[in-house]
Symmetry: C2
Subunit: 139 residues, 2 copies
DNA sequence: GAGACATAGGTGATGTTATTACATTCGTCA
DNA sequence: TGACGAATGTAATAACATCACCTATGTCTC
């Protein structure tokens, strides 16, 4: 798989990118593109495309992850760091909706190995685990 | 994570389920719900809901998998077997669109372990690997 | 067979997510 | 200043998915 994301600080974001970034930052749960749009109408954003463009850039910088199974987006937990790993996996609680990012190097290795075994050139992986978080099992 | 899918033979499918099943069977690549609808209009299917309902059942039986990152569907490679594993992972070639199902028990174990380590009760996992298949790397 | 129940199907409308096309503005650098 | 690439603004539309409501079919029991 490819390397890590380097040196794309939250500083030098454009206006729209910063708006989307901070909206995600303020949310416990993943947000959909249209959730973000609704949240940012007061800041002058009017069209889905504005959101999607900002998200694309943020994802490209490794600051945001897309959750394929939710069609939603979360901040990378490493977004304040210089170098961000690109091997994220996620747990998604089907009860409370909270998402946790895991970065496990043995998982990354195993996926790389599985791909290699079939001659597949791995570029990107999506790992999303559904179930109940500890808190929701207790409840 | 949960067990396997048992004894849901392609025999006892309803008419719509069988139509969708055979349409997927005849396709090299994953098909979207609306692809299926277009393919099956000649057989009397007219609405997306008919497709989605059939897909839901087929997925429930373990005969079909949904690819979250493509919003598309493929047959399970074990669909002719008595017992189907529920630990599928997929490679998705970004060049030719072909999808390959992998069933690796060490991956399943590792995911279970990762989940357990954080107290997460794993119910279902989505693993989708993007890159180039062997054929497309050669080309 | 009649009644009750569960599962499946048919249809139209609607909701949600994502992209296309095209024009404009901004930032940087020669 | 002028040129270029990146970012933005806007409307329209495409692609994916579900809701609400009603009808049909199969099965089990009496």
């Amino acid at each position: 798989m490819s390397g890590e994301h380097r040196h794309a600080e939250p500083d030098k974001l454009t206006k729209n990118q910063a708006l989307v970034f901070h909206a995600l930052e303020g949310s416990e749960k993943p947000l959909g593109a249209y959730d973000l749009l609704d949240a940012l109408r007061g800041d002058g954003l009017r069209s889905p495309l504005q959101i999607y463009r900002a998200l694309d850039k943020l994802i490209g910088m490794g600051l945001v992850h897309r959750l394929e199974s939710l069609n939603a987006f979360v901040l990378c937990i490493h977004c304040g760091e210089e170098v961000r790993p690109d091997n994220a996996a996620f747990t998604i609680c089907t009860a409370c909706g909270r998402v946790t990012e895991l970065n496990d190097s043995s998982l990354a290795r195993l996926l790389a190995q599985l791909a290699e075994a079939t001659g597949f050139a791995l570029e990107q992986s999506t790992v999303e685990l559904r179930g109940l978080c500890a808190a929701c099992q207790a409840a």
